[in-house]
Symmetry: C2
Subunit: 165 residues, 2 copies
């Protein structure tokens, strides 16, 4: 079971790929897709799409877990995040993955046991769960991995039983 | 000069293709892309992307004019429109078109001369400007054509001079 987590954003989009085999979960890749703020938004969305499609082609995840966009104070930023999440969802379906959305609170709760956890706690738990020597950097990559881990924790018991048979 | 106008939306997305040759503007196509509300959003975004890419391939517009997403009362709807507009922008750049965004007020002003024009006035003016026997239906298709006409009215004088030479 291969899951790609995505923390959507137009300036910085975190991604993380984890593999679960039996009870072992390991990190396969994590990083950031950036686009140039000086470019027009349509061009940035296209560039983001190209980079994401390349990653999806390279890893072929069974599922993609996307952090849900919440409306922040800055409406301009929220719109960019929404547009990027739309591009990411369409690309993930196009690559044959099942797509799931999780709220920031769901992700925090799944990873740390508490919906109000801060960035540092999240980073530490991602590190612990994956048995990494040090916290993942940058934080957006750790957030994306957390979304993937959240999906592994949430996917229906049925599919886990099937996978074990 | 071929321009595709897009009135983005996930449930119904209007599109309209117009061609300007000298002082004559004619409609080449107009319609709606619909996606099934019962399907999950990522699947609908992917389907929307596929249909739009087909239209872009068929008409190869020089420019795509997209109506800007404004935040409405219904945040859920605004997010769907934002996601669809992101997919549309990335697809248009991928098809080699230049992409431009216009606010609803800019579009109304360009087509009727007044930023507060209502749907009926807009429909009538689109009909008149294109010399159509009756108003375009549905209204989303007329709105998309209006976005394309707005682009023709706004594009820099320089490119119009160049086109005339």
């Amino acid at each position: 079971m291969l899951v790609m987590g995505i923390d959507p954003g137009l300036s910085r989009c975190g991604y993380g790929v984890v593999r679960q085999k039996g009870r072992v979960v390991e990190a396969m890749a994590a990083g950031i897709i950036r686009t140039d703020k000086r470019e027009p938004i349509p061009r940035r969305l296209h560039e983001f799409q190209n980079e994401l499609v390349e990653l999806l082609d390279a890893y072929r995840p069974d599922a993609v877990a996307i952090e849900q966009v919440l409306f922040q104070v800055n409406v301009r930023t929220a719109m960019g995040v929404g547009q990027a999440s739309g591009v990411a969802m369409a690309a993930a379906v196009g690559a044959g993955a099942e797509v799931f959305e999780y709220s920031p609170t769901q992700i925090k709760k799944a990873v740390t046991g508490w919906g109000g956890a801060d960035k540092e706690q999240m980073g530490k738990m991602v590190q612990t769960l994956l048995g990494l020597p040090r916290p993942l950097r940058p934080a957006d990559a750790a957030d994306a991995v957390a979304a993937a881990l959240c999906h592994l924790a949430h996917r229906p018991a049925a599919s886990r039983i099937q996978a074990a048979m």
